[in-house]
């Protein structure tokens, strides 16, 4: 069983792999099995290729906007692969890579950003809530969902993703408190990527770390190296298995600007970015797996080819023009359109005739 879980995080982030890919000998975390590590690597490579493809599509006008998670792949992939099939993911706008890792169709993932509708996928198919834009509001949905599962006697955990900036929102604190009181099986994963658009951590938080905020709510907390996919996987898996709430802060970095529409040179230096490029999460797991002889040149090439194929699929799907039915505007405001909306739909139909 799970040992007594600490409310306070460690002073140093937990890790399994150093920046150069060498293993940390005395880590309290369990190193994932080899096949899991290979799968984590494969999904990170595919996820990164998806991400660069999506950014490229903004330049061609195929996506209205794209918030890249380049540099955060260890969080996006490590956390999602640690979930069990029955668990739910509650993502934000930043987490498209997490979605495709969970199995959501890439074109359906991008529907929101492509502008055809507010959401392209069915949340119940892969157990993924709608990508959430109002910051931190998804934390409460995750707590309610997980608590409902408990009430129904189901063994379902919820993983909710939030940014560092979103930890300043009231909903984060209400959610941690509700989860603590209800002992709801929710994993709060804060991807601390250094910035909320332009605002750095120093203007966001006065606590020793974001993970320290758990103690006030009685929620066990973990600080983890967010560029170490093995460690992210291990701590999320442990948190899911523990059954109650856990707050995890993963230290990572957003390599790209906030979105393609942002100019990051206005608020950070290229030296800072370069230092984080040197801590690249994909390079790290590759170095470890290569040194162990697990990642052969053949496998590496096969994964790269798969990523290219995935990107080609994204391009093909996004370069196809779809019809958007104006009459669908009225269809799902209520379970059954009201008289009032039927009248308005008829007026629009007249305009279109």
């Amino acid at each position: 069983m799970v040992p007594t879980r600490e409310l306070l995080p460690t002073a140093e982030p937990l890790s399994l792999l150093r920046k150069d890919g060498s293993p940390v000998e005395d880590s309290p975390l369990a190193m994932p099995d080899d096949d899991v590590l290979l799968e984590l690597h494969r999904r990170m490579v595919v996820g990164r290729r998806f991400d660069t493809q999506a950014t490229a599509l903004t330049k061609q006008g195929r996506l209205a906007v794209y918030p890249s998670s380049r540099g955060q792949e260890a969080c996006e992939v490590g956390a999602v692969l640690a979930l069990r099939e029955q668990d739910w993911l509650f993502p934000t706008y930043r987490d498209c890579v997490a979605l495709v890792t969970r199995g959501v169709d890439s074109a359906e993932t991008l529907t929101l950003l492509q502008g055809g509708w507010h959401l392209g996928y069915d949340p119940y198919v892969h157990r993924v809530g709608p990508q959430c834009t109002p910051l931190a509001t998804n934390t409460l949905h995750a707590v309610g969902f997980a608590h409902a599962a408990r009430l129904k006697g189901e063994d379902t955990a919820a993983l909710v993703l939030v940014g560092d900036g979103a930890t300043s929102e009231g909903d984060t604190h209400e959610a941690l408190n509700f989860a603590g009181v209800w002992k709801a099986p929710v994993v709060f994963l804060v991807q601390n990527n250094g910035y909320a658009i332009s605002v750095p951590m120093s203007k966001q938080n006065a606590a020793p770390s974001l993970a320290h905020k758990g103690i006030g709510y009685g929620v066990p907390s973990v600080l983890v190296d967010g560029n170490d996919v093995a460690a992210v996987y291990a701590v999320v898996k442990e948190a899911v298995e523990a059954g109650g709430p856990t707050l995890i802060e993963a230290l990572t970095y957003r390599i790209e600007a906030h979105t393609n529409a942002d100019d990051a040179t206005r608020y950070r230096t290229s030296d800072e970015v370069a230092a984080w490029l040197d801590r690249d999460p994909v390079d790290r797991i590759e170095a470890y797996l290569t040194a162990r002889g697990l990642l052969t040149p053949e496998r590496r090439a096969a994964v790269a080819a798969e990523a290219e194929e995935f990107a080609a699929g994204v391009r093909a799907a996004l370069n196809t023009d779809h019809e958007h039915d104006p009459m669908s505007l009225f269809e799902h405001v209520y379970a059954t359109p009201t008289r009032h909306l039927r009248e308005q739909a008829a007026l629009l139909a007249e305009e279109l005739a």
Partner: protein, 340 residues
């Protein structure tokens, strides 16, 4: 009157009728939950949930931490996972911390997900004044909700409707803002427990020939009193109780106004940008050629809700409604809107 005497009917206060509605829903449907601040052992500050926790257990009826966004946000998550939460906001103005969850998610998730996520959540809000409440305890917040597509907004004027509308709200596949006129909690009336008028329909509480007074929630009783008093002036007043604010029942309201040719809308909330403006516009658009006078409004002043000792000067009352009826061009005198 909808309250008929049947073998099953009982005289209940509105609070007791609401309590019965929740108890019956909890008994019939195991997915129904009731939660909020002080709704458990205390039974709510107005005792509307009295006895429910004891009867159904604290896994179905429970106190939550004191956080309104948390209450509505977790209710959304629970509804996504197949439950039917009925949550209480302690007072009108204390629902505002939940506004983001209500407007950005509760109202929109069905539409955002093209119908894949429906949220059968009921938010009960004791609202309005007239009870000598201090600041922040007497707001009429209906227009914030009716302005938000995706929400259904209902408010009972009688104990019978309180029972029926709450049962229908809990059964609804869509989120319902259920506004409870707190000054009428203790008013008694016959409750039949049987299905009657559909939730989205207005009812004619009192038929009349000369003028339609359109009211809802706490003002239904005031409108009925006005109708009695108006007989002395020789006016036969028809009172329409809207019951459902969103959707609005154009058909029933406009049929009444076409018959009477005159209409007055009454509500406690401030008039500017208020719900009555929408009613006046819709009635004018649809009944213009039947109207003998402009549709007039009787509302609270455009001020923050006043302190208890001044609230009587704010709230619409029988005299103010009668004065307004008097200005409905009965003798070809042009109706003046007071002020510039």
């Amino acid at each position: 009157m909808t309250a008929q005497s049947t073998s099953q009917s009982t005289s209940l206060s509105m609070a007791a009728a609401l309590n019965r509605a929740m108890a019956d829903a909890l008994a019939e449907d195991p997915t129904v939950l009731v939660f909020g601040e002080d709704v458990g052992a205390l039974g709510g500050v107005f005792r509307v949930t009295d006895g429910l926790e004891a009867r159904f257990g604290s896994h179905r009826v429970f106190d939550t931490p004191l956080a309104e966004s948390g209450i509505v946000g977790t209710a959304i998550g629970m509804a996504m996972n197949g439950l039917r939460p009925v949550v209480e906001m302690q007072f009108d103005a204390f629902a505002y911390p939940a506004f983001e969850q209500i407007t950005s998610h509760l109202a929109k998730l069905r539409n955002r997900t093209r119908g894949r996520i429906g949220l059968p959540v009921v938010i009960r809000v004791p609202y309005g004044g007239g009870i000598g409440g201090v600041e922040h305890h007497c707001d009429s917040s209906e227009a914030y909700y009716t302005h938000t597509p995706g929400l259904t907004v209902v408010t009972p004027g009688t104990p019978d409707d309180a029972y029926r509308l709450l049962r229908d709200a809990i059964a609804s596949p869509d989120p319902v803002i259920f506004l409870e006129p707190k000054r009428r909690y203790w008013s008694k009336g016959e409750v039949t427990f049987e299905g009657s008028t559909p939730m989205d329909r207005a009812v004619i509480r009192r038929p009349g020939r000369d003028v339609t007074v359109i009211a809802y929630g706490p003002m239904v009783a005031t409108a009925l009193e006005t109708a009695e008093a108006a007989t002395e002036e020789g006016w036969d007043v028809e009172v329409v109780d809207l019951r459902s604010l969103a959707p609005f029942d154009d058909e029933t309201v406009c049929a009444s106004v076409r018959r009477t040719g005159r209409a007055v809308v009454v509500h406690e909330a401030s008039g500017f940008g208020g719900y009555g403006a929408e009613v006046a516009a819709r009635v004018t658009e649809r009944c213009f050629h039947h109207l003998h006078a402009p549709v007039l409004r009787v509302t609270g002043w455009d001020i923050p809700y006043p302190p208890p000792k001044l609230e009587e000067h704010h709230l619409p009352n029988v005299d103010r409604i009668l004065d307004t009826i008097a200005r409905l061009q009965w003798d070809d005198e042009v109706v003046g809107v007071r002020g510039a």
